[in-house]
């Protein structure tokens, strides 16, 4: 089925991708073809198969053992884009 530009922009906003420029025009165009490809699945008659739960597997449990593998500084600081006063700095999120 054809997918409108407005719909594609909505999908981008759900996916936290920027739809205002860059490569987005090209992506929007590619999406038409890709959705057309996956639409082939509509042809497939699955009869009464509706159960999508993987019945071969069971939940796996293990003991909840508390260990301290890392200190917060050692875990976060080396890779954080902006590390200040023991935390990750981000733009203000509350007014």
């Amino acid at each position: 089925m054809a997918i409108s530009r407005k719909e594609i922009e909505h999908i981008a906003s759900l996916a936290r991708l920027d739809s205002t420029g860059g490569i987005f025009d090209r992506l929007a165009e590619d999406m038409q073809g890709i959705v057309g490809m996956v639409d082939k699945l509509a042809e497939l008659d699955l009869g009464d198969i509706t159960d999508v739960i993987n019945t071969e597997r069971k939940n796996a449990f293990h003991e909840d053992v508390v260990v301290q593998e890392y200190t917060p500084d050692a875990l976060i600081e080396p890779n954080a884009p902006d590390f200040q006063a023991g935390g990750v700095a981000v733009p203000r999120v509350v007014e």
Partner: protein, 489 residues
């Protein structure tokens, strides 16, 4: 024969007999790497200094009389989506351009226990999304058999460095063919293990229900050695890992006597779209199996025509969820253009940090999971997955292994398929069903086309049928002599 031209099994025997030291071996493979890496560009990070230190440590332990595992001192390259503590792990993405994991993947802990020498991190399609290694943010990798062609993907670097003689073994990952297709394109041997056989802890997730780490080598025995080192139940870290019936015993169990083995040829895998050279080569391998005493017969797996939509729906849906964690906040790339807006921080970091193919998959995945489309796409694809699994299970009632092509063609030119993503996706037709069904798949060379490019064949087994697969692979390898192929460069 130079050291770099030997298989891991040969090198292991030489190391054990002290005919060569691990340091000498490491120096030899790095000399080979320096000689050819400009042409191949299979690595994104080389770890020569730590490799030589690891090799020196192995030599010290051996000199002290310690009994060491078979892989001790053997150089191994690691795909760049497998976390290596303190060593860059970028997934070939701008998003993780500076990421140094604070922990090791389980497979890295297992390889460390074996005493392997890690030579570096191998190039890949960004976040393992792609089939040509051209989606790398670092650089494309070139096929060692013709540097104007792609090595395949996504584990293109892992396959290319083995084919080029830069290293005897490497690890890759396979979500829809990412070990098997580059193995075929580069003329090496690669195995996608049964889902659950190898812990995924520390493998940066693409599609968690399909991803699996696996080995590359230049012989069946070498692939068996590396498989033995990485399988195992990992209850603390990966709840989808399981204890296999063959943990650590596959190499010892290799047996090339395949008389009476039942080999199915699914007719749908040999039809239109498969090049003549590939079809003829794989059918010739089937004849070889007949001559070796196997029973070879046609079977039917008609659902293969729906495998691509099922795969792209399921894998993209999982990718859109898994990659939501990359938001520019805690690690990796953060946009300098967000101002004071936290939503702009997320969207700009993601749009600037991810390449086009990754964004396509995230968009498709978000679409098929979104309200109003979930039932028609995701839910139906999961139901079709069950049907595909049943189709394979029925096939394995009749045969022990299934023989197919790996890809419709041999390796194509760099840039040939980058403008149309659908053309690239179509090349995955022979491999994705194996992931959808959670089965093991072995790829090894079975010939060359008119341009002297390698052709691979795929053997598919039932769940945990790795020993049977590798036995069948060994029988063909011995009959054909197609092993330890190193590109001339």
């Amino acid at each position: 024969m130079a050291l770099y031209e030997k298989t891991a099994a040969e090198l292991s025997a030489m190391l054990a007999k002290k005919e060569v030291s691990a340091v000498e071996l490491a120096q030899d493979v790095f000399a080979r790497t320096k000689a050819v890496e400009d042409k191949v560009q299979g690595y994104v990070t080389l770890t020569e200094e730590s490799a030589l230190a690891q090799a020196a440590e192995i030599d010290k332990r051996r000199a002290a009389g310690e009994e060491l595992p078979a892989l001790a001192g053997i150089p191994v390259a690691i795909k760049d989506n497998i976390c290596t503590k303190g060593t860059l792990t970028t997934c070939a993405s701008k998003m993780l351009y500076n990421f140094k994991p604070p922990y090791n993947a389980t497979v890295m802990e297992k390889l460390a226990a074996q005493g392997v020498v890690v030579t570096g991190k191998a190039n890949m399609d960004e976040f393992a999304m792609g089939s040509s290694c051209e989606n790398s943010a670092a650089h494309p990798t070139h096929n060692p058999h013709d540097v104007n062609r792609v090595p395949g993907g996504s584990s293109g670097g892992s396959a290319a460095v083995v084919a080029a003689g830069e290293v005897p073994l490497s690890l890759g990952s396979d979500t829809g063919g990412s070990i098997r297709q580059p193995a075929a394109f580069c003329g090496v041997t690669g195995l996608k293990p049964t889902y659950g056989a190898v812990s995924r802890y520390g493998l940066i997730a693409f599609a968690s229900s399909l991803d699996q780490i696996g080995p590359f080598g230049r012989s069946i025995e070498d692939v068996a050695m590396l498989l033995d080192a990485i399988t195992g139940h990992d209850p603390m870290h990966d709840s989808t890992s399981v204890k296999t019936p063959f943990e650590g015993t596959v190499r010892a169990g290799l047996n090339a006597d395949i008389k009476g083995m039942k080999i199915g040829l699914p007719k749908e895998y040999f039809g239109a779209g498969i090049s003549d050279a590939v079809r003829e080569s794989v059918l010739a391998a089937a004849e070889t199996y007949k001559n070796l005493g196997a029973e070879v017969f046609e079977i039917s797996l008609p659902l293969v025509e729906y495998a691509l939509p099922v795969y792209y729906i399921l894998s993209s849906a999982e990718a859109s969820s898994n990659l939501a964690r990359f938001d520019g906040v805690k690690y990796g790339y953060r946009t300098p253009n967000a101002g004071d807006d936290v939503i702009a921080l997320y969207t700009k970091s993601r749009s600037e940090g991810f390449g086009a193919e990754v964004q396509r998959r995230i968009m498709l995945g978000t679409y098929v999971l979104s309200s109003g489309y979930y039932d028609a796409y995701y839910k139906k694809a999961r139901a079709a997955q069950r049907k595909i699994r049943e189709e394979f299970a029925n096939a394995f009632d009749k045969c022990d292994v299934i023989l197919t092509p790996v890809a419709p063609t041999t390796a194509y030119g760099i840039g040939a398929k980058t403008t149309n993503p659908l053309e690239m996706y179509a090349g995955d037709i022979c491999t994705v069903s194996v992931n959808i069904a959670g089965l093991p798949g072995l790829v090894q060379p079975c010939g060359f086309d008119g341009d002297k490019m390698p052709i691979g064949m795929q053997l598919i087994g039932p769940r945990f049928g790795e020993q049977t697969l590798l036995n069948a692979g060994l029988a063909f390898e011995q009959a054909s002599g197609l092993r330890n192929i190193i590109a001339a460069l």
